[in-house]
């Protein structure tokens, strides 16, 4: 069946897009790699009651009801591993399912935690905040009995309070940024956000959890798993203030510095990108959510990390835009669309402020020693990355990749891409560029796929056959 639009990703952005476009009469395919709707933000367990403590769960429940009520062709556990342009739109190859064809494509693939390396970050028990959240929300398991929560960004707070609610002890929350800087731009913050932050702060205080800003976990120690971390105070360059290091015992630590948007599909189609203020590679989109490739739209974190509220707004807007482009009537009157555009602008302003407040500390490379792994998969230490630049003369991230094998292992640069690109730029005495990040983000095969699937029967139109460009 040929759809008007294929939406990839069923988190806040993708759900809102699919429901809005379907309401306007579009034939919509919604594909998501997870077994349940909701994306990372609304991740929940198999039982119906397991998600109710979530933020904005009622919004999710309403979207899900709308979706189930609609004609949307939703496929769960459907990872899109390849996308190509066809004369009449796009063809998506999906693991375990027949290819999906659609005239238009909406990329709502979200983001995953951005990690920075530090000594000991490869020890078992050192995980991202997203991992702790997924374990808890998806599977009902607390990541540790005594957990240190660290990194940068508002996401650390629900991770810490979620662990407390599950009965774990939180040994401390160490935020590298300086949230007091929010106070300098009070107009940029919605009241709802302030109330939310106040609730988290009250919960941490009630459990006597230390909350320190301008601090980071700069090393992890342990034999077969983490048993302690070193926490240090950061100077304004992000280096550890001498004498400020102290050790904290724990059986798990979560560390994350913002998020990395997932861009395999739009990069494979040639969509333009730029370097956002948080240092993430994001899609270049216009006010209507159109990427630089005709027929490809984007909503949510892939257009710039900004959280679920912004993703919902963008999803509704793009759903309406796609409906109009497909010759359907707008699901919203113009006045509502105008208000949505205003809301998106103010949510983007807040996101920009959030990125300024919670920027990755510039001095993070000074926390590493020569043997610290930068690339976990290929086990490439800092010394080899440095040698590639200073001894072998590499000036760009792609050359470093070729010389060191950073980003050439199992994860294909998803984990080390940002850090390696940023290190390369710094060692070369220049600023990070979008091209550095593109070198680690291009993955034409977007998901691992068994050879049997590659070799499987082609669809009738000859898909999957290799045709040189």
């Amino acid at each position: 069946m040929n759809h008007d639009v294929a939406v990839v990703g069923a988190g806040p952005a993708g759900l809102a897009t699919a429901v809005t476009a379907a309401r306007a009469g579009c034939r919509v395919a919604l594909l998501d790699s997870a077994p349940r709707l909701g994306g990372q933000f609304w991740r929940h367990g198999a039982s119906e009651s397991s998600g109710r403590e979530h933020q904005a769960w009622s919004v999710f429940a309403a979207l899900r009801a709308d979706l189930l009520d609609s004609e949307v062709d939703y496929t769960a556990a459907a990872a899109v591993w390849f996308v190509e342009s066809t004369p009449d739109g796009f063809r998506l190859q999906v693991t375990g399912h027949p290819p999906v064809r659609a005239r238009r494509l909406v990329v709502a693939t979200g983001a995953y935690d951005r990690a920075l390396p530090f000594p000991g970050w490869d020890l078992p028990g050192v995980v991202t905040p997203g991992a702790a959240q997924a374990l808890l929300k998806g599977s009902g398991v607390a990541v540790g009995a005594r957990v240190v929560v660290a990194g940068a960004g508002p996401f650390l707070l629900p991770v810490a309070t979620g662990l407390l609610a599950a009965g774990a002890r939180v040994a401390g929350v160490y935020e590298a940024g300086e949230p007091l800087r929010y106070a300098r731009r009070p107009g940029a913050i919605a009241l709802g956000k302030l109330a939310e932050a106040a609730r988290y702060a009250a919960t941490l205080a009630r459990h006597r959890v230390p909350y320190r800003t301008g601090h980071a976990v700069v090393a992890a120690h342990g034999e077969s798993a983490v048993s302690s971390v070193e926490v240090g105070r950061l100077d304004r360059h992000g280096a550890v203030v001498s004498g400020s290091r102290r050790s904290i015992g724990c059986d798990a630590v979560t560390v994350g510095y913002g998020f990395t948007p997932q861009l395999e599909l739009p990069l494979a189609l040639g969509c333009g990108t730029w370097l956002d203020v948080d240092g993430s590679l994001v899609l270049e989109v216009d006010v209507a959510g159109r990427t630089t490739v005709p027929g490809v739209y984007a909503a949510g974190e892939v257009t710039g990390v900004g959280g679920a509220d912004l993703a919902l707004t963008e999803g509704r807007l793009v759903g309406a835009v796609v409906a109009l482009a497909s010759g359907r009537r707008s699901p919203y009157p113009d006045s509502v669309l105008t208000r949505m555009l205003d809301r998106r602008a103010s949510q983007r302003r807040f996101a920009r402020l959030m990125h300024e407040v919670h920027a990755p500390p510039a001095g993070w490379p000074s926390w590493l020693d020569d043997s610290t792994l930068v690339c976990r998969c290929e086990e490439v230490p800092l010394a080899r990355v440095r040698a590639a630049v200073t001894d072998l003369g590499a000036t760009d991230a792609r050359t470093v990749r070729g010389l060191c094998r950073t980003g050439m292992g199992w994860c294909q640069g998803r984990t080390c891409g940002y850090a390696t690109a940023a290190l390369t730029a710094r060692l070369g005495g220049r600023a990070l560029t979008a091209a550095d990040l593109v070198a680690y983000a291009r993955r034409p095969i977007a998901q691992p796929v068994p050879l049997a699937e590659l070799a499987g029967p082609a669809d009738q139109s000859g898909g999957k056959r290799y045709r040189p460009a």
């Binding site: 039982s47 009902g140 398991v141 009995a145 077969s224 691992p448």
Partner: protein
């Protein structure tokens, strides 16, 4: 260990390197192992260093494991099923 049992949920067993591990419907293989106190189930090719869960959402591939004879499965994504055979690598 760090284990939040969902109230009223029935449990079942999977096997990790032959040993029984309790799981709850809807849990991933990684979550069941983690709840049983297992923190690593793979050794790296180079240093032989232990690895287990890292990103928890299928991006980092650190948690690769063999499930019912199929190698290189992401333990953080594969749902636990009764009598599943999980083998470290």
């Amino acid at each position: 260990m760090s284990w939040t049992h969902l109230p009223g949920a029935p449990t079942f067993s999977i096997r990790f390197d032959g040993e029984p591990v309790t799981a709850v419907p809807g849990q991933t293989v990684a979550a069941a192992l983690w709840a049983a106190g297992v923190r690593s189930w793979r050794a790296t090719r180079g240093a032989g260093a232990p690895r287990g869960l890292f990103c928890g959402i299928g991006a980092c591939f650190d948690c690769l494991v063999t499930v019912d004879g199929v190698p290189d499965q992401r333990a953080c994504l594969v749902p636990a099923r009764p009598d599943q055979q999980v083998t470290s690598r």
